[in-house]
């Protein structure tokens, strides 16, 4: 039987879904860790990125932050947390490492989104007597939204995919299914684990698209 058949069999076997190392438990950990990390990263990065974009200050930092972030391996950051007192704090090391991983691209995207808003529109709004807060919330944010949301979606997919790294330092999540399959030369299990991660990433992306659609967009020109 080929690999696709064995992957299907692995996924169809109920025994693989229950217990400490079962899919449900690992999926729950994975969703919890990446969800928490994404929410925290958005809460940190978006206000700062939007505000910097609004004021136009700190541009070099905002744009270069994602370049700097790219140079820092998630695995190394996670390893550093795992040899600190945080090691006994449950999922905290993984969440913290993922937040640090997601903040730079989110912040850069928010900044670029607001900076990219047509200056003449901003000038017109200012001329109408809008305050800084009104300008940001009623003009810049709606116009920057597509780019900001694209940034959030790609960060979400990256966070879900990267959360698998946690398994390398013995933390939970779907990565454990992959490493367990790796250690026993069980290719079907590795593929099944990768498929589950991809499925979760697609699901998160779909949910974010749906949430985005719930809110009315500014009228298209």
């Amino acid at each position: 039987m080929g690999v696709p058949g064995r992957v299907f069999d692995w996924l169809a076997d109920g025994a693989n879904w229950y217990g400490e190392n079962g899919v449900w438990h690992r999926l729950g950990e994975h969703a919890l860790v990446s969800g928490t990390a994404l929410v925290l990263a958005c809460a940190l990065a978006l206000p700062v990125g939007l505000w910097l974009g609004h004021t136009g200050r700190g541009g070099a930092l905002a744009v270069n932050l994602s370049n700097i972030g790219r140079a820092v391996p998630v695995f190394a950051v996670l390893a550093l947390f795992m040899v600190s007192p945080l090691r006994s704090a449950g999922h905290v090391p993984t969440v913290a490492a993922l937040v640090l991983f997601a903040v730079p691209p989110l912040l850069t995207n928010a900044y670029v989104g607001v900076r990219g808003v047509d200056r003449s529109v901003v000038e017109a709004a200012r001329g109408m007597g809008m305050s800084a807060g009104q300008l940001l919330l009623r003009v810049e944010l709606p116009l920057a939204r597509p780019l900001v949301m694209t940034g959030v979606r790609s960060a979400a997919v990256q966070v879900v995919a990267t959360a698998t790294i946690a398994a390398m330092v013995g933390q939970g999540g779907l990565g454990r299914i992959i490493t367990a399959g790796f250690n026993t030369y069980n290719t079907a299990q590795v593929v099944a684990g990768a498929l589950l991660v991809a499925g979760l990433a697609l699901l998160v992306e779909g949910v974010l698209v749906a949430v985005d659609r719930l809110f009315p967009r500014p009228a298209a020109r």
Binding site: R70, A161, A194, V197
Partner: protein, 237 residues
């Protein structure tokens, strides 16, 4: 700074560690550098033909761009695990995985660079009797160099970081030092290897920036006023 006994005390910063394990650190860093260099060079050799293929029309562009983007969403841990049956526990496995990841950014930037060549320039070259091959080599590729090198810089920095995950098969450069140090709670080793990783990435980025300046003297002469070119150079495409 901690002096003697910092190894016993398990300090974060420990010169004693760096001094006594310098050989091990150098070996890991050398492995890190060659794995990264091989991955990016092979990635480039694969990406340029793919970009040329994607440029031939929508029929090719969609599958090439779709596939290279899809590759990027595979978790690195899964990618290296999936290649195991093909390569065994070897550096070739890690290099192959990293090449596949680098394609996303390299193909995209090469394509963007080629597409940014003004049509008038192409027309002028054709009018001067340039054939398709000579047009590509002497006109289009040189003009695409800034965007292409911007892609190489991004791919190189990401590859340096991703190489650490190769430690799952024992070929992760500095990552090989990080993984066992986590299990034994060896702070100095984790921190030193992590810092070296970031330093390697930054050094590679600066080196490539220098190469970019050398290869495109006209970009500096043209000044900073040309926004489109500047954005391409910075990889914001």
């Amino acid at each position: 700074m901690a002096g003697q006994g910092c190894l016993v005390a398990n300090d974060w910063l420990c010169w004693e560690y760096v001094a006594s394990r310098s050989e091990e650190l150098t070996d890991a860093a050398v492995q890190h550098v060659w794995i990264t260099a091989a991955s990016v060079l092979i990635g480039l050799a694969v990406a340029v033909p793919l970009a040329l293929l994607a440029r031939r029309g929508r029929r090719w562009a969609a599958p090439v761009l779709g596939l290279t983007t899809l590759l990027y969403t595979i978790p690195s841990l899964a990618m290296f695990s999936l290649l195991l049956p093909l390569f065994g526990l070897s550096a070739a496995l890690v290099v192959t995985g990293l090449v596949l990841y680098s394609l996303t950014i390299l193909v995209r930037n090469t394509l963007a660079g080629l597409e940014a060549v003004p049509d008038e320039v192409r027309e002028a070259a054709r009018g001067m009797g340039y054939g398709p091959a000579r047009l590509l080599w002497q006109v289009e590729l040189p003009l695409a160099v800034p965007a292409l090198l911007a892609g190489v810089r991004i791919a190189t920095v990401s590859t340096v970081a991703l190489t650490t995950v190769g430690s799952i098969v024992g070929k992760g450069g500095l990552g090989n030092l990080i993984a066992p140090a986590v299990s034994s709670n060896f702070k100095a080793q984790v921190l030193t290897a992590s810092l070296l990783c970031v330093l390697l990435a930054l050094a590679a980025d600066l080196l490539l920036l220098g190469v970019q300046r050398l290869l495109t003297p006209w970009a500096r002469a043209a000044g900073a006023g040309d926004g489109r070119r500047r954005r391409l150079r910075n990889g914001e495409v």
